[in-house]
Symmetry: C2
Subunit: 324 residues, 2 copies
């Protein structure tokens, strides 16, 4: 990892150590909120530290009472310009919280607004450890180690050196099926996603940012545990589902939903994270690496749709084109 | 309120008083989870008590570390038979948490499993104060009063005596437009819902339980604050939206989304909770009564669709018909 990144993350850890932190807020919008949510997932699973996720403007307007000088607020915006997230940083600082901005641009308004900054490289040929997932996971593992004292998270930091290689290998493993998924589903107007545990946040990103935003395909991210309490009635032989079977404690929920959905729909695509290549990752760390690897793999399924629909992922009708 | 209900709620309040409660978990499935979520919304907005919502099986499998003897776990199942929620009660008790089951059937497995029971009447001609919303709001107001010491929640309990009348009046006000909505949208295969704050849980219920489950209409509950970070790209002149403009601090988020969506879609139905009839409710209590009244009003829009599609809300293809 680049020295500047090591130092930025270390400064955050030292700042957290120096304050009596009582709760953590993960605050961002859209895909960035979903990406931060893995932090909330692991904090709630592994520690008794209260942790919350908010979309930035809800955070500002609801004004959660638990936010204060003993709060750690982690914010993220790819460009660092998302106005609601910049506003959330301003609001969190006004409440004396410890604020950390994660962005690819340290000169951005968000990074100017937050007390601490964690930068990541983006599509500049840097190793995965210095890019979005590697940087965030390093921060998370170090935070989890600080809160719990458990050594496994430090092993996690070490094993992140495998991240780039593992992303490549797992992408290679899914390239052809993802392309076939795109071909098979290119005429579909609606594709549901389904997942649980940490992976519900991948389903949310895929639904909101890839299907609805970039591909103009209708969608809804269904929680595998909620499926049987309403949404499953929409299932029919010709209703497409993209199902993530996770690597983690809630896999049985996914398996149960998968058993049902494959019985009544003839168009179910499964991304089985349990079957990913985890070479070099310890058994007890797989559930952390699973969500880290699932994002780049899922992206291929959107690429497949883009290729076969002739609708590039870069096309927008509203975003960046007008004030809103 | 019936004496038995007064006593059940009082027992819960005494039990909470008698324990050093450090966090609250709201645990249920589907529409029951959404209904409980209003509690989480008000607890996070008005108090610094950590509060969390889980769908029952995710709760059991994630096994949040913060759950313990200082936890209050509020569970709900209409019939009290939802297996995942019964399992969640068992799990919470195994962790020595204080468990409260809310159900229409006190003999149900859920009520047998939980330490405390809060019953509500269902479609038996009882006054609204003894039914689902009245009972839950009474419990919530008393809990909020206990945690914060603020008197306004006790005024809230008093003013719940108006609930039945207000539900009727607001339903009467929306009956015709809800029917017209059903007629206008009877051929639609997808209808999006949108809301923020407490009302996102209404959008979730409407999407999951009314549109997808009962009407087999594709849907997704979009958070008004998230709309601009992905989902808004799906908007087009012929894409139907059912938009809830809430009464509460996040109304500006709804208003912003409404301004955009009405510009680019010609089929936006608005349920404006700010314009509801709140006769007899104090100004500072409107944001609590808004979500209580929005449910019965929104139900009319599903009735309108059922009437004009000839697809009764009671029809299912899988639920109650097979093992799953």
């Amino acid at each position: 990892m680049k020295q500047v990144h090591v130092e930025q993350i270390q400064k955050v850890i030292e700042a957290v150590k120096g304050k009596d932190i009582e709760n953590i807020f993960f605050v961002a919008c859209g895909g960035s909120m979903a990406a931060l949510s893995f932090g909330d997932y692991f904090v709630t699973k592994d520690t008794d530290m209260p942790s919350f996720v908010y979309t930035s403007n809800e955070f500002i307007h609801r004004a959660p009472k638990a936010l204060g000088e003993k709060s750690l607020v982690i914010l993220k915006s790819h460009t660092g310009t998302t106005p609601e997230t910049v506003g959330a940083a301003t609001y969190a600082r006004s409440k004396s919280a410890l604020t950390v901005a994660i962005s690819m641009d340290v000169e951005s308004p968000l990074c100017q607004e937050a007390e601490f900054t964690v930068h990541y490289n983006y599509k500049d040929g840097s190793d995965a450890i210095d890019c979005e997932i590697g940087i965030y996971y390093t921060l998370l593992f170090k935070l989890l180690n600080l809160i719990t004292g458990e050594e496994k998270y430090l092993r996690g930091v070490d094993q992140l050196s495998k991240l780039g290689e593992l992303i490549e290998r797992n992408q290679a493993k899914h390239k052809d099926v993802a392309d076939a998924f795109g071909k098979k589903n290119k005429r579909e107007k609606i594709i549901y996603t389904m997942a649980s545990g940490a992976y519900i946040h991948h389903a949310y990103s895929f639904t909101s940012c890839l299907l609805m935003e970039m591909l103009w395909v209708n969608s809804n991210a269904i929680h595998s545990g909620e499926y049987f309490h309403g949404p499953f009635e929409i299932t029919d032989y010709d209703v497409p589902f993209l199902m993530v079977v996770g690597e983690g404690p809630s896999t049985p929920l996914d398996q149960r939903a998968l058993d049902f959905v494959t019985k009544y729909s003839e168009n179910v695509e499964v991304v089985n994270v349990k079957e990913f290549d985890y070479t070099g990752v310890d058994e007890d760390l797989k559930e952390y690496f699973g969500p880290a690897l699932a994002g780049p793999v899922l992206r291929l399924y959107a690429d497949g749709l883009a290729e076969h629909t002739g609708h590039p992922l870069s096309v927008r009708r509203y975003m960046w084109k007008m004030e809103y």
